[in-house]
């Protein structure tokens, strides 16, 4: 037993729990009830500036803790129930995004996160952009904002999980 583990343990005990208290649960039932409150999410960056990624990181962090509502980030679309797409779809990522969507087993959902994913946002009309996410794959949930705050992201994910 060295100094570091003991110090870390003391810090854990002293910090305690910093997660925000949970807001009231969503009113509507989830769109895909078979998922039964557990949704594996595969995040796809189709061309974003990474602002939305920072907010996603914060939403899954210790303060907002989206995992307590049943949402979990996974590495492969084969393991996923839903895709979490950020950014406008650039020309390079169009085919990759479509292949990722086809690799997700059904029933599947797509969450388009941010103004860029909804209508190309600040990058509308740029030469490298192929279109919004809905132009490439069917979208089920939009989360507006540039970037959307973590509370909005958590609310959207709770709408899918139903918890």
């Amino acid at each position: 037993m060295g100094v570091v583990p003991v110090g870390l343990w003391r810090k854990i005990v002293k910090t305690g729990r910093v997660a925000e208290p949970a807001p009231p649960p969503p009113a509507c039932p989830p769109p895909v009830p078979e998922l039964a409150g557990s949704v594996q999410l595969r995040h796809v960056d189709a061309g974003s500036c990474n602002g939305c990624e920072v907010e996603i990181g914060s939403a899954f962090g210790p303060v907002h803790d989206a995992e307590r509502y049943g949402a979990r980030l996974v590495a492969s679309p084969r393991h996923a129930d839903a895709l979490l797409v950020t950014g406008p779809v650039t020309r390079n990522m169009e085919v990759a995004l479509r292949r990722t969507y086809e690799a997700v087993p059904q029933p599947r959902l797509v969450v388009a996160l941010g103004d860029c994913a909804r209508d190309c946002g600040a990058f509308k009309g740029a030469y490298g952009v192929a279109g919004a996410v809905a132009d490439v794959i069917p979208v089920d949930v939009h989360v507006p904002g540039c970037p959307p705050p973590p509370e909005a992201i958590v609310a959207a994910l709770r709408g899918i999980t139903g918890r």
Binding site: S76, P77, R78, V95, A96, L97, R99, T100, E102, A103
Partner: protein, 637 residues
């Protein structure tokens, strides 16, 4: 005895067939195959109790040639005959005239009943096998290097066996059994012969010729050497240790057990990280012979007890099983090498569609070699494990300490064996071809397929029916029963046949159930991260498959390698060439043989000063030697 003599005669006739055309080669091959088959029957008869002995005083004056076939020798003659039949059929038209001589020598060694005969046949076996290893020496330089190592180690082994057997003082084996020798002589003789026989069987640290010689020898020769010749080391150990010297003090068998455990572990570890297919199979031979030696050591430690006799039976059954599946594996590897031109597993792959029959046969061999049910290796390794587990009650401190260690070593080597053969089969034969040569591979010709099928049939027979072989083994042992093997006096039973049937029924049931549920299947694209199509070069290679194992055993394996970066003259940032090297050398060779060879070279360099070309010095040598000899003779007389 007539069958045995006829078998020998057929092999000698095959060696003497004149002519170099295809017809002559076919005749020689068929004669060897029939000689091998007859020898297998003769060995089986000796096992059943029809032994014989004979003395030919005119053949090797002054002691003559004594031949005798008892059940132990009969077992090894039968195994050799079977392997020779398969290898001869496999190599019809391709083997030279040395193969029948090699087979004849290997048939003679277990039948030798005097020291002179034994040594003569042993040396004949060594010389013919050396000639076989050097067959392709004109095509590759590595063959000469391999031949040199093999020759030196074989001859050193012969010297050790010679010293050991000469220490015993008598010629005939009957006289040796009856002789009463002082313990010091017995210890020295046992240790000397152990060194020689361990070198032949490929036991660490005398195994270094195996991974060098097997890749360079042609496939039928490698199959013969691995399936039949390494068994001669085991035969010698059993004959001298258990039969002629009649067992011995405990420490003999502890040494044997320790060497066996070390070989089993080191051999399979090196096989697990080998990318050269024949080198992998060679190290697997070391592992299997190590397991056999563990069984023999246990049998010597606990003579007369059920666990000891079971260990000996398990070791002998493993010799038979190993001969069957190792012959098969080397033949399949030889077919692959012949058609792809290389031995590197990294460059193979995709052979399942191009060589379906060879792939199926290699799969059978890999299953048997990895000691998983329903293969034949499973039965003998299970019996060996049972003997190690049941050895404990009331047998002394040494046994109580070594048996748990032996069980641990056994378990680790069995696990690594599974990984090794999954790698050899999966990476080598499945997926897509990783090189041009693998894409253009074609199926082997029918004679090679016939030879492989014979060996595969033997493997399947041994897997489903070990009870028959076990009931014929020499020495009373506690395994009984045909369908279910029961261990008398110990708890435990196993039924390989029922296991195989159960696995087959379960597999068929699962397949039928899957087909009946009628799930909707859709053709989907392989997930490749969304980017372009995956090329065959992105598959697991042998090196990447075993890299986690290599990292775990980093300290033992001491892999070597490095990255060489050559940059342009103008600037160090402009890279012209990057070269990456990775290899796992044989650590025993590095640490043990390296210093010995360096010392020998240094001694040779220093000795050059003794012969520097000066005539005066040479005359001086002659003068002093002559006067010295005269003085000694004067003093003595």
């Amino acid at each position: 005895m007539t069958l045995y003599v006829v078998a020998l005669g057929l092999c000698l006739a095959a060696a003497l067939v004149p002519g170099a055309g295809r017809v002559a080669a076919w005749i020689a091959g068929l004669l060897t195959a029939s000689g091998g088959a007859l020898a297998a029957v003769a060995g089986g008869l000796a096992l059943a109790g029809h032994g014989w002995q004979t003395w030919l005083p005119d053949l090797l004056p002054p002691v003559g040639v004594r031949l005798a076939l008892d059940p132990l020798g009969g077992l090894f003659v039968a195994v050799t005959g079977g392997v020779a039949a398969c290898a001869a059929v496999y190599g019809i038209g391709r083997s030279g005239r040395v193969v029948p001589l090699f087979v004849a020598a290997m048939l003679l060694v277990p039948a030798a009943a005097s020291v002179g005969t034994f040594l003569a046949c042993w040396e004949l076996m060594a010389i013919t096998s050396l000639a076989l290893v050097l067959t392709e020496h004109r095509e590759r330089g590595a063959v000469r290097d391999a031949g040199l190592w093999y020759a030196i180690l074989t001859q050193l082994g012969l010297v050790a066996v010679l010293c050991g057997l000469l220490l015993l003082g008598h010629d005939g084996f009957d006289q040796l059994r009856a002789a009463d020798l002082p313990p010091a002589v017995r210890n020295a003789a046992f240790l000397a012969t152990l060194v020689g026989f361990a070198a032949k069987a490929g036991i660490v640290p005398l195994h270094v010729w195996l991974p060098r010689a097997y890749p360079e020898a042609p496939a039928p020769a490698a199959a013969l050497m691995s399936g039949a010749m390494v068994n001669m080391g085991v035969y010698g150990l059993l004959r001298v240790g258990l039969d002629l010297l009649g067992g011995g003090p405990e420490w003999w068998w502890l040494v044997v057990l320790g060497l066996g455990a070390l070989s089993a572990l080191y051999g399979i570890l090196q096989a697990a990280v080998a990318s050269d297919l024949q080198r992998l199979l060679g190290y697997s031979s070391t592992e299997n012979m190590g397991l056999v030696l563990m069984g023999i050591g246990t049998a010597g430690l606990l003579p007369g007890s059920p666990a000891g006799r079971l260990a000996l039976a398990a070791a002998l059954l493993h010799v038979v099983n190993h001969a069957a599946f190792k012959t098969l594996l080397f033949q399949a590897a030889g077919s692959v090498t012949r058609t792809t031109g290389g031995r590197n597993l990294d460059a193979m792959g995709g052979l399942r569609t191009r060589m379906p029959y060879t792939t199926a046969i290699f799969a059978v061999g890999a299953l048997c070699a990895s000691a998983l049910p329903p293969g034949n290796g499973f039965t003998s390794e299970w019996l060996l494990l049972q003997s190690l587990l049941h050895a404990l009650p009331g047998s002394g401190v040494a046994v109580a300490v070594t048996m748990p260690l032996a069980v641990g070593v056994f378990a680790l080597s069995a696990g690594l064996a599974v990984a090794t053969f999954v790698k050899a089969f999966g990476v080598g034969f499945l997926a897509r071809p990783r090189s041009q040569a693998a894409e253009l591979a074609t199926e082997s010709p029918p004679t090679m397929l016939a030879g492989m099928t014979l060996a595969a049939a033997a493997c399947v027979f041994l897997a489903l029916n070990p009870g028959l072989v076990l009931s014929a083994l020499p020495g009373a042992h506690p395994v009984g029963g045909l369908v279910t093997l029961e261990l008398a006096g110990l708890t435990g039973s196993i039924s390989p046949l029922l296991l195989a049937v159960a696995i087959a029924v379960a597999a068929a049931g699962v397949l039928a159930a899957l087909r009946k549920t009628g799930r909707v299947r859709r053709a989907a694209r392989l997930w490749d991260c969304g980017a372009g199509p995956m090329s065959a070069r992105m598959e697991y290679t042998a090196t990447s498959f075993c890299e986690p194992l290599q990292r775990v055993f980093d300290h033992t394996l001491a892999p070597e390698g490095g990255v060489d970066v050559r940059s342009a003259k103008e600037s160090a940032y402009l890279v012209e060439r990057v070269e990456f090297r990775a290899s796992v050398p044989d650590r025993v060779e590095r640490t043990l043989y390296g210093p010995v060879l360096a010392a020998a070279r240094a001694a040779g360099e220093r000795a050059r000063r003794l012969a520097d070309g000066s005539v005066h010095r040479y005359l001086g040598y002659g003068f002093y030697a002559l006067t010295g000899a005269l003085i000694v003779l004067a003093v003595l007389a």
